[in-house]
């Protein structure tokens, strides 16, 4: 269990690997130099495609690599979502009610204060002062929320198999400003939180659904990549380039299988568009070379042909660039 704790849990559903925890995303990126693709709609910025949010979906090659270096553990996600028992549901509900009460109380005190201030909030000076006060209050609230979240996180960690981050339900600042009166709740709006990861639920239980090796996962029918020669070739090329220190992203928009970056794609341009050949002697049409050379040059990249030798388990690389002799 202790070794599993350091391994990154990858939630597998429908043979796709998701990462729902932002800390895990950070580890995968910084420590293991893998990017994946963010796919979810970002809350509060839900009408744009420029920047997406959790979940991070990993390429199957990335999953195979993480398994190979013992950095990840696969979790059968659909089976980990168990129906809550009655006490669990009641506890969850109590937590919700508590949060709502706190929020309503906060709103009431706030609106009361505002109405008291209404008469003299006109002058510029007063406005400025109020702004300052509000900012101070906000900072205070966030500080308290952090504390509250931390303590709540500790409490929950006892009952949870995964090192959960603080459940977002409790991270609301209103919790700190709680008063305890019961009010008619229907009239005053409060915030409803839809949590992204399931780890905040007491009843989410992935224990016993861990698969730390490809063989185990394959036997359980959870994961089977790589299984064909083509998939083995892709994994071989991917890990070959990764071991040389490169970052890889999908290369479909550049006519290759991967884009190869010298550093984190956040900061650096890619140098190569790589395409995988399943064997070092597989046929290649001259037109492909022309197309790759042309596209690569136009985008300031060299095209990398990566031939996988399945018998020797090694990759040979060949790069194509326009010679430019006029």
């Amino acid at each position: 269990m202790s070794s599993d704790r350091q391994r990154i849990p990858l939630r597998i559903a429908g043979k796709r690997a998701y990462v729902w925890d932002v800390d895990d995303i950070a580890t995968i990126r910084a420590q293991y130099r893998l990017c994946g693709v963010l796919t979810g709609t970002l809350p509060h910025l839900s009408q744009q495609n420029a920047f997406l949010g959790v979940p991070l979906v990993l390429m199957p090659e990335e999953v195979a690599l993480l398994l190979e270096i013992d950095a990840a553990v696969l979790i059968d996600d659909p089976k980990s979502h168990i129906q809550p028992t009655m006490p669990e549901l009641q506890r969850w509900n109590a937590g919700q009610q508590e949060s709502i009460r706190a929020q309503v109380a906060f709103t009431e005190t706030k609106s009361a204060r505002e109405s008291a201030n209404a008469g003299r909030a006109m002058s510029e000076d007063a406005l400025r002062k109020r702004k300052e006060r509000e900012e101070r209050k906000k900072a205070e609230a966030s500080r308290l929320a952090e504390i509250a979240a931390r303590s709540d996180g500790d409490l929950l960690a006892l009952s949870e198999p995964t090192p959960a981050q603080a459940p977002p339900i409790h991270s609301d600042p209103a919790v700190s400003a709680a008063g305890n009166q019961t009010e008619p709740l229907s009239s005053i709006p409060y915030a409803v939180v839809v949590s992204a990861p399931s780890s905040s639920f007491e009843w989410y239980n992935p224990s016993g659904r861990f698969y730390s090796s490809l063989e185990d996962a394959r036997a359980a029918g959870v994961w089977d990549y790589p299984s064909t020669l083509e998939e083995r070739a892709r994994c071989g090329v991917f890990s070959g380039l990764w071991k040389q220190g490169f970052f890889m992203g999908g290369g479909i928009k550049f006519g290759g299988d991967y884009l190869v970056y010298p550093g984190d794609p956040l900061r650096y341009h890619s140098h190569f568009a790589a395409s995988v050949l399943v064997s070092p002697i597989s046929a290649l049409r001259p037109m492909e070379i022309v197309a790759h050379g042309r596209l690569g040059t136009a985008t300031k990249k060299a095209h990398l042909l990566c031939g996988w030798d399945d018998e020797k388990q090694e990759v040979s690389y060949l790069s194509i660039e326009w010679a430019g002799f006029g």
Binding site: A13, G14, Y18, V22, A26, A30, C35, V37, T39, G40, T41, L42, P43, H44, L45, S46, Q47, Q48, N49, F51, V54, P55, V57, D77, P78, H81, P84, M86, L89, N93, Q96, Q97, I100, F106, A141, S142, P168, P173, P189, Y190, A191, V193, V194, S195, A196, P197, S198, G250, I252, K253, F254, L259, P262, G263, D264, P265, L266, R267, H269, S270
Partner: protein, 467 residues
């Protein structure tokens, strides 16, 4: 790919993009009816800010990068992660509620709020157990899995999962209708039901985020509203059309006139008639090989494997007036394929796709005032397809593919020496028409999360002979 990877940059902008990107949904309208904008209550750090992307560098310094590079990278990463930590909070006055029923693969919407439901969800009759123990049929609002995940994910809906617990023991400010679901659970359990794959869901939410209305092409149940005449045949040409297309009319006319048609000497220049001594008729008589999309493809259906090239979504532009219960003909139709497992479409697959697609109107030249009296084929949609081409008057008939009548009796139409009609008539530019094609399908190619859209159209070269 690049755009998903090279996103944030070191500079965390002071001005939050949240203000710039207007959310069109209930959250904004909610502020007006007295509700509180709860996003303002959340500590500043919790609100997502899209990190600005800036200039990238060529490569890191040897040994993993200079200190400055490492520092900048670190800031870029933390800016990205900070944006990812945003929580989904929605005002209780704006949020909808639904119950996910895995056995039906539907989410029953119990509280529907916001404008999303004007284009999402459909009503389905389900038998409910009434109070007195008698079953009765009642219509209710249901969501397909992709619609449900999308709404959960953007924080517009709180979803319960159906349970067999006695929920009367749980009470509070809101009714508990099952086990609360997270976004993760939505992905885990809903994808894979009702033909939904992750690829298809990603295409769906990508287009929804852009504001399109997306519906299923193939109705999952008979209750699902479909546009008129899209799924049903416009498809295969009739037998008569097939036969006649094998023998172009002029050829049959020629062969009838001059006895048997000689494939080695397709041109017969009549000694007595003068009308065929011009380029037009000469070229026309050279076109004797049946061509065009009316000619049926030679079928080689040896193995019946279902092609991955099936139209999955109907797409409506945000500007198209959309009525949920009676959807208009779609603006686009979309096929979703997986780049890793699906090869390029075969000719047969493309033909099968185009067979079920409606014909598009011929594009008109831009920026001309419309001529009164001509029908306007610029209306999108297949409804006008049939009469789109022959909208022109006889004056410029020579600019059009020769009509059946004309091909049958070419001598009745002496090629006018002065082809300029008196009134300038809007003529479709043949190259624009060829480029646009007569039928069009959009193919969304998904390679582990990155989506590219391709447009395949059926060019009708036979209908636009240059001579």
């Amino acid at each position: 790919m690049d755009d998903t990877l090279e996103l944030p940059n070191a500079i965390a902008p002071k001005v939050s993009l949240a203000d710039a990107i207007q959310e069109e949904d209930e959250q904004s309208s909610d502020g007006e009816d007295g509700g509180l904008d709860w996003t303002k209550l959340i500590p500043e750090a919790v609100r997502p800010v899209i990190p600005k992307r800036g200039e990238k560098e060529f490569e890191p310094k040897a040994g993993g990068g200079s200190n400055l590079q490492l520092h900048v990278l670190d800031r870029a990463r933390s800016a990205m992660l900070e944006a990812l930590r945003a929580t989904r909070t929605t005002s209780s006055k704006a949020i909808s509620y639904g119950v996910w029923q895995p056995s039906l693969a539907r989410t029953h919407v119990t509280v529907a709020r916001g404008i999303h439901f004007s284009s999402m969800g459909h009503s389905a009759p389900r038998s409910l157990l009434g109070e007195n123990g008698v079953e009765k049929i009642q219509k209710r609002l249901e969501l397909l899995p992709e619609e449900a995940i999308y709404l959960i994910e953007r924080g517009s809906m709180f979803c319960w999962k159906e349970t067999d617990l006695n929920l009367t023991e749980v009470s509070g400010a809101f009714e508990v209708l099952g086990a609360p679901m997270s976004v993760q659970q939505g992905y885990s359990e809903m994808i894979g039901t009702e033909d939904l794959t992750l690829d298809r869901f990603q295409v769906f939410s990508y287009l929804k985020r852009l504001g399109y209305v997306v519906t299923r092409t193939k109705p999952p149940t008979s209750y699902y509203p479909t546009p008129p005449n899209t799924v049903i045949v416009n498809s295969a040409p009739s037998i008569f059309q097939r036969i006649s297309s094998l023998f172009p009319t002029w050829a049959s006319w020629l062969s009838r006139l001059c006895g048997s048609f000689d494939w080695w000497r397709p041109m017969r220049i009549s000694r007595w008639l003068h009308h065929d001594k011009n380029y037009g008729s000469l070229f026309r008589s050279l076109r004797f090989i049946p061509s065009g999309h009316g000619v049926p493809l030679r079928q080689s259906k040896s193995v019946e494997v279902e092609s991955p090239y099936q139209i999955f979504y109907n797409l409506y532009k945000p500007s198209t007036p959309f009525k949920k219960t009676a959807p208009p003909p779609p603006d686009f139709q979309i096929v979703v394929i997986n780049a890793r497992t699906t090869p390029m479409p075969t000719l047969q697959e493309l033909t099968d796709l185009f067979d079920v697609l409606p014909e598009l109107p011929t594009p008109l030249p831009r920026q001309r005032r419309p001529i009164p009296g001509t029908t306007n084929p610029a209306i999108p949609g297949p409804a006008v397809s049939e009469n789109a081409a022959p909208t022109q008057t006889l004056n410029n008939a020579n600019q059009l593919p020769p009509s059946l009548f004309r091909r049958l009796f070419p001598w009745a139409f002496p090629r006018p020496a002065v082809a300029q009609p008196l009134i300038p008539v809007r003529r479709p530019n043949p190259f624009m028409a060829l480029k646009a094609g007569k039928k069009m399908v959009v193919i969304a190619v998904v390679d582990s999360g990155s989506i590219s859209f391709f447009r395949f159209s059926q060019g009708a070269f036979t209908e636009w002979p240059m001579m």
